[in-house]
């Protein structure tokens, strides 16, 4: 009997342990599921604000307008129907707020019950009109022609150069500036961090005595431990004003500020991973080199560094990964302008910063909300690629041994 309970308890524990072991896998699968469920939803949505009707006069030959054309029209950059394939006539914009210019409050009715009828009249009377109004005011016998926009396509989303997720009547959701901004800042960060990190790793692995190493180790652990929001704060009060002064810029919140802070944040990863790699250099190889008359320095750059090159690449890739996913520090120091970057002295906006800054304002389930989840998908895929690459590099290294 005792034996039986003993076995039972043992099995229960194994069951519990197994269950715990599956939690991380389950979480990753759930993250993928929720991210993509919400994110892919954007491709079945129209860029027009939900519940908005767009209409023209029946005589107008224009049957289609794109989201970018709508934006240009609403910004008054396009003012003639000819520019969008119609007759040579000025575009007459009508928004629902303008209705008071046409009719008195009485004519609209106390509960706006006559508004649909009035819109009918306005659209019929003005052949060059382009009207935006809430769908609830769309009459059953609407005499104009409604214009429907195509759903947001994958190409629009990934290749679009404009990120205006909240403008009316039609949003612009091009993530190219955000993707490029992320890569730009991360690239700058790694450019700054790699030489510094590698030098430190070489110094710790090969040159420093154990006393110095015992000082450096906790320093690097501390650097890794400082919260990103503190790095962001430091960047905001020290690095940003410094950049502004040195380069004489109107604002110091630039890609450079982001790269500097991210570079510092990537240092611990780069140092510890590449130091570990250098430490695996077999002693025999180093001693053979020294015995052949090479100096310690020659041994380092002819034997140790070539031997640990895959570990060093892993370090660089992981450093980039750390930089790509970093949110708060970047949000606080890069200025967050969603333009395609062409200099380190301009503000940029990264994917994580966009999510962090905008998700709070995006109504749940709306197009903006879904777009931000789609950005999360892109970010997830980027880091997945990085993890898989690291896995492949280290697998190859094992093979080579």
């Amino acid at each position: 009997m005792k034996r039986y309970f003993h076995n039972f308890g043992e099995r229960l524990i194994v069951g519990l342990l197994t269950l715990s072991g599956t939690v991380t896998s389950l979480t990753v699968l759930l993250i993928v599921f929720y991210l993509f469920k919400e994110g892919l939803g954007i491709f079945s949505m129209s860029p027009v604000e939900e519940g908005t009707a767009i209409a023209v006069n029946k005589q107008n030959p224009v049957k289609e307008l794109s989201a970018s054309q709508l934006k240009e029209i609403s910004d008054q950059n396009i003012t003639n129907w000819q520019q969008v394939g119609g007759p040579n006539a000025p575009i007459k914009l009508f928004r629902i707020d303008d209705i008071t210019e046409y009719y008195s409050e009485e004519e609209l009715g106390a509960d706006f019950e006559f508004v649909p009828q009035r819109i009918n009249e306005i659209v019929t009377k003005n052949p060059n009109i382009l009207a935006f109004f809430p769908e609830e005011f769309l009459a059953k016998d609407f005499p104009g022609r409604q214009i429907f926009l195509d759903n947001i396509s994958v190409a629009d989303f990934l290749g679009g150069r404009e990120w205006y997720p909240t403008i009316t009547p039609a949003v612009r959701m091009g993530v190219l500036p955000l993707i490029l901004g992320t890569l730009w800042v991360s690239f700058g960060a790694i450019l700054l961090a790699l030489p510094l990190g590698l030098a430190t790793a070489v110094y710790m692995a090969e040159i420093a005595d154990s006393r110095v190493r015992n000082i450096l180790k906790p320093v690097i652990e501390l650097l890794a431990g400082i919260p990103s929001v503190v790095y962001g704060f430091f960047g905001l009060v020290v690095v940003v004003p410094l950049i502004q002064d040195i380069f004489g810029l109107p604002v110091g919140e630039t890609a450079l500020a982001g790269s500097i802070i991210l570079g510092i944040m990537a240092l611990p990863t780069i140092i510890s991973v590449s130091e570990d790699a250098m430490r695996t250099t077999p002693r025999a190889m180093k001693e053979a080199s020294l015995a052949l008359g090479a100096s310690k320095w020659q041994t380092i750059y002819k034997v140790v560094i070539p031997y640990s090159i895959s570990g060093i690449s892993t370090a660089a890739i992981l450093g980039i990964g750390r930089a790509i996913g970093e949110t708060m520090a970047v949000l606080m120091v890069t200025g967050n302008a969603s333009v395609i970057p062409d200099s380190f002295l301009e503000p940029v906006r990264t994917i994580p910063a966009t999510i962090a800054a905008e998700l709070g304002e995006a109504p749940q389930g709306g197009i903006h909300y879904k777009a931000l989840f789609a950005l999360g998908c892109i970010l997830f895929l980027l880091t997945l690629i990085i993890n898989v690459t690291v896995d492949l590099v280290s697998a190859k290294k094992r093979e080579n041994r």
């Binding site: 194994v14 896998s25 990753v28 993250i31 030489p195 431990g225 998700l359 749940q364 880091t383």
Partner: protein, 294 residues
């Protein structure tokens, strides 16, 4: 290189070496300098802000005066909540992977997934926590949702440290215990775990440091912009130190006036990290000594 100029080549070799070593030493110490500058800057500016009032009072006047008490309490509950979730599951998962799971595709798969989870950016945890805990489970913005999100983020760290601590235990202990007739679980719980315990605890302490400073995962799952009262239940929103620092340094009503409060908050965050790291280092040394004495 020919034989004749052996001497001068030796000299230039030595020169190159000492030049290279000097540069490397300089670069390494600049890393130390960077850390020192950041710490010194925040500690010097922050320490003068710290007072009993700052630590125990509610923020006042649009967060430009008063204290950060609710943020301290909020962060405390988030750390407790996330560790209650991540620690047992993480340790059990680590035990399962190292002691029970045999080498094979399943182990490789779980390892890969754990590594992937460790690589997921913190803002993605925030998105996920919002979609699952806040919206799907209906917890709303709450300590519960925030703790679970932070717990998931800390999980891979706990699993890894547990696994590594277990791996460091020599197999002879396991074999000896099994040979004496102990069952697998008896061996794990009475022989292996007590030996690995110090390192596991050190890992736990370090993950507390990580969790207390994370901002992105709590943005949409729990953090309140301004909430000058303490939580009553796990379904309440709370303020949290890292989010508070972000808010008062970027979007307060009067950024100049609240800068002082920001230095104080940053100081507290740095202090937590310093204490956590020192404690972990001290524990490591303490346990190492004890093991040696045995």
């Amino acid at each position: 290189m020919s034989f004749h100029d052996g001497k001068s080549s030796n000299q230039s070799k030595r020169l190159a070496q000492s030049a290279a070593f000097t540069i490397f030493r300089g670069l390494s110490f600049s890393v130390v300098a960077i850390l020192f500058i950041i710490l010194a800057f925040i500690i010097i500016r922050g320490v003068s802000v710290i007072s009993w009032e700052f630590l125990t009072e509610m923020p006042r006047n649009g967060m430009t005066a008063g204290g950060i008490f609710p943020a301290i309490v909020g962060t405390f509950w988030l750390v407790v909540g996330s560790m209650l979730f991540a620690f047992p599951i993480g340790v059990m998962s680590g035990i399962y992977m190292n002691e029970y799971l045999k080498d094979g595709w399943l182990k490789r798969f779980i390892k890969l997934m754990t590594n992937n989870l460790a690589g997921v950016p913190s803002i993605v945890f925030g998105l996920f926590g919002m979609a699952l805990f806040v919206n799907r489970f209906g917890f709303g913005d709450s300590i519960l949702a925030g703790s679970l999100t932070l717990g998931l983020l800390a999980l891979p760290v706990v699993i890894r440290t547990t696994e590594e601590s277990l791996k460091a235990i020599d197999d002879s202990f396991r074999i000896g215990s099994l040979a004496l007739g102990a069952s697998k679980w008896q061996t794990t719980s009475r022989v292996v775990l007590p030996m690995a315990f110090p390192n596991i605890i050190t890992g736990l302490i370090l993950s507390i440091g990580r969790v207390s400073g994370e901002t992105a995962p709590i943005l949409f799952t729990v953090a309140a912009y301004f909430l000058p009262r303490l939580p009553d239940s796990i379904f309440d929103q709370v303020m949290a130190l890292p989010y508070h620092l972000y808010v008062i340094s970027t979007s307060g009503t009067d950024i100049e006036a609240s800068r002082k409060m920001a230095y104080g908050t940053a100081f507290i965050l740095i202090l937590i990290i310093l204490v956590v790291n020192l404690l972990a280092n001290w524990l490591r040394k303490y346990f190492a000594k004890r093991v040696k004495m045995h």
